[in-house]
């Protein structure tokens, strides 16, 4: 089946070559980081996690969102998702691989990372996150690949894959819940110390992931003529809309609790992110862009004339993705460190090398996604 990825047009190969260049740049950046140490990034004593861990967190969400296709299709027999469910599973595969790479890029001693398994520590959240992420990766590769293979050979999928598909549904929820627990259990980091962190993670995931998927379906239609079906896209749009509403509802709850209670530690990070603290406000414009983009997208999607128009729909999905990428992929993780435990505001700017490495990982994700989608679309087009 992999042979489908090895034949393509000029644009396909040019795109892969372009991604390979970005990946090569990322690898060279990583080699520099290995040599110099993580001091080559913008991270430091006070902001000890940066772009890598923030992007890891965001893409766990994108990965988890595959369940928004798997669940209606397999559990509710929503047939319209039949053409795109594998696109969701393959998006999850690419996303989880990116997550694992972002974590590896962040390790001070990457060659020792297997110590996590060697010295399994039940009271740490990390080993559980490693287990659920790798498990989810395997589940989506197997479920996606086997059902696609069955489609290619025009036979029903083997019976043994059904339980795995059902297992992948709660498993998707688990990856983002456990990822939220990485943050939500730490005393003294008040932006993260909130019981709705996991629900908020899930809501933003189920908005950003399907929004990206809608954009990808439009892209596939333009590039390959592969039609995901109008009704499937409309259903996804509904999911994006309600998940976005839930996400902003949760954000509002955070604001209420922090500012109505007026407890300084609960206010500080939010104040820094949205208004600036002690004269420092590097993230303020991004947070407001995120807020305005998210709310605008919701307004577009609320009106039938907006969500039923392809251009408006694409704009809304791009805005939602941007909004949540900033909110979770920058603000949430960086903001948790500001102010530092001594109450001092220290800011963070990623370095060029750091962004080059992150760019390399995005390119690896895009490359994996391109190859997997090439295979899926080729098979589905031939079958049809």
């Amino acid at each position: 089946m992999f042979d489908k990825a090895l034949s393509g047009g000029r644009a396909y190969w040019l795109w892969l070559a372009f991604l390979s260049v970005i990946i090569a740049l990322g690898i060279s950046g990583y080699l520099r980081q290995l040599e110099y140490g993580l001091g080559i990034t913008g991270m430091g004593r006070d902001i000890s996690w940066g772009v890598y861990i923030a992007q890891f967190t965001f893409f766990v969400g994108v990965a988890a969102s595959a369940v928004m296709l798997v669940l209606p299709y397999y559990l509710h027999d929503y047939k319209k998702f039949g053409r795109i469910v594998v696109l969701g599973e393959f998006l999850a595969v690419a996303s989880v691989i990116m997550c694992l790479l972002f974590v590896m890029a962040d390790m001070g001693k990457p060659m020792r990372v297997l110590n996590v398994l060697l010295y399994f520590t039940p009271h740490s959240i990390v080993p559980y996150d490693i287990m659920v992420l790798n498990g989810y990766l395997v589940l989506n590769i197997v479920c996606g690949w086997v059902t696609l293979e069955a489609e290619r050979t025009e036979v029903p999928p083997p019976a043994w894959v059904k339980p795995l598909i059902y297992l992948s549904i709660p498993w998707a929820v688990s990856i983002h819940t456990v990822t939220a627990f990485l943050y939500a259990g730490m005393p003294g980091r008040d932006l993260w110390l909130t019981a709705i962190l996991a629900p908020r993670f899930l809501a933003s995931a189920f908005a950003a992931g399907p929004a990206l998927l809608i954009l990808l379906t439009f892209l596939l239609k333009r590039l390959t003529g592969f039609d995901s079906g109008r009704e499937a896209v409309q259903k996804l749009t509904t999911i994006v809309l309600y998940a976005s509403l839930l996400n902003f509802f949760f954000v509002g709850m955070e604001f209420f609790t922090a500012f109505y209670s007026s407890i300084p530690e609960h206010e500080h990070s939010l104040t820094y992110l949205f208004f600036g603290l002690e004269g420092k406000s590097a993230l303020r414009p991004y947070m407001w862009i995120s807020m305005v983009a998210g709310v605008s997208a919701i307004v577009i999607l609320l009106f039938p004339r907006g969500r039923n128009n392809d251009r408006w729909l694409m704009l809304a999905c791009a805005l939602i993705f941007l909004s949540l990428w900033i909110d979770k992929g920058i603000g949430l993780v960086i903001g948790g460190f500001i102010p530092n435990p001594m109450g001092t505001v220290v800011e963070y700017t990623p370095s060029v090398t750091e962004l080059t490495i992150a760019g390399g990982i995005w390119a690896i994700g895009a490359l994996i996604l391109t190859v997997l989608y090439k295979i899926a679309v080729t098979i589905k087009t031939q079958a049809a």
Binding site: D106, G108, K109, V116, V126
Partner: protein
């Protein structure tokens, strides 16, 4: 009849006492040894050792940094010359920074102006130990929160978890920034976390921690918190002391006093 009733009441009373004692014992167990057990004996104060420090800010001199120099020299702590990459085991900061959740309004001059010592609290309930995925940071039976530099994977989860900013990471090669090397303590590599170890390498050989030994005003007292006859317990009995961020339940083993005590 009367006798048996009396016996019954005595038994009931001792059972109640026993129950209360057990409850207290369970409490001290859960409170102090959730992660990395401390040997627990009778209810109240457990047996064994829990090393702690008493910081007498009334004696500590504002302009002095002898303890900092001694600690950083003995433990081969490099100086990178910038705050981003900085590694520090013990340092001074304002009261407002060291006690950010403490009382802040209308402060007495002795609190407002004086730099306060800050170091690892060697918490009885350390969040850093809880989150570490490899037990590279762990709590010893004597209460010291220790680091294994050879096991640390450099994930920096402990830095996110520490509510006191007591942990530093080797963002760069520390060996290139050491003016001299003390052979008694290992130097570190790129990519591992480090922090104050209460001089475990020194107290193992019967010596006091370097900071305590160096202090010329005897502002620092080191000792066993579980030994009620120890000097540190004497200080805690007679002075009004504070732990940093006690509301987080980490139970720091470093105690601060700000007002001059009776001699």
């Amino acid at each position: 009849m009367n006798k048996s009733r009396r016996n019954f009441l005595v038994q009931l009373g001792s059972a109640a006492l026993f129950g209360a004692g057990t409850a207290a014992g369970i409490h001290s167990l859960t409170a102090t040894s959730a992660f990395g057990a401390t040997p627990t004996g009778s209810p109240g104060i457990p047996k064994g050792t829990r090393w702690g420090m008493f910081v007498d800010m009334a004696r500590c001199e504002a302009g002095c940094s002898d303890c900092i120099t001694a600690c950083h020299t003995k433990h081969n702590v490099p100086d990178f010359g910038n705050p981003k990459d900085e590694i520090k085991w013990i340092w001074k900061d304002s009261y407002a920074k060291v006690f950010p959740t403490g009382s802040q309004q209308f402060l007495a001059q002795q609190l407002a102006d004086k730099p306060v010592l800050s170091l690892c609290n060697h918490c009885a309930n350390p969040p850093c130990v809880k989150v570490c995925p490899t037990q590279a940071t762990f709590k010893r039976a004597d209460g010291i929160v220790e680091m294994d530099f050879h096991r640390c994977i450099g994930c920096r989860f402990c830095m996110a978890a520490c509510p006191y900013g007591s942990r530093s990471f080797n963002w760069r090669n520390p060996r290139e920034f050491l003016k001299q090397v003390d052979a008694e303590y290992p130097t570190r590599e790129i990519g591992v976390v480090e922090k104050c170890n209460f001089c475990s390498e020194r107290i193992g050989t019967g010596r006091q921690p370097a900071c305590v030994e160096t202090c010329k005003t005897q502002a620092l007292v080191f000792g066993n918190l579980y030994d009620k006859n120890s000097e540190i317990r004497e200080k805690l009995r007679t002075r009004v002391t504070f732990q940093r961020k006690p509301e987080l339940g980490t139970e720091p083993s470093v105690f601060y006093a700000f007002e001059a005590g009776h001699v």
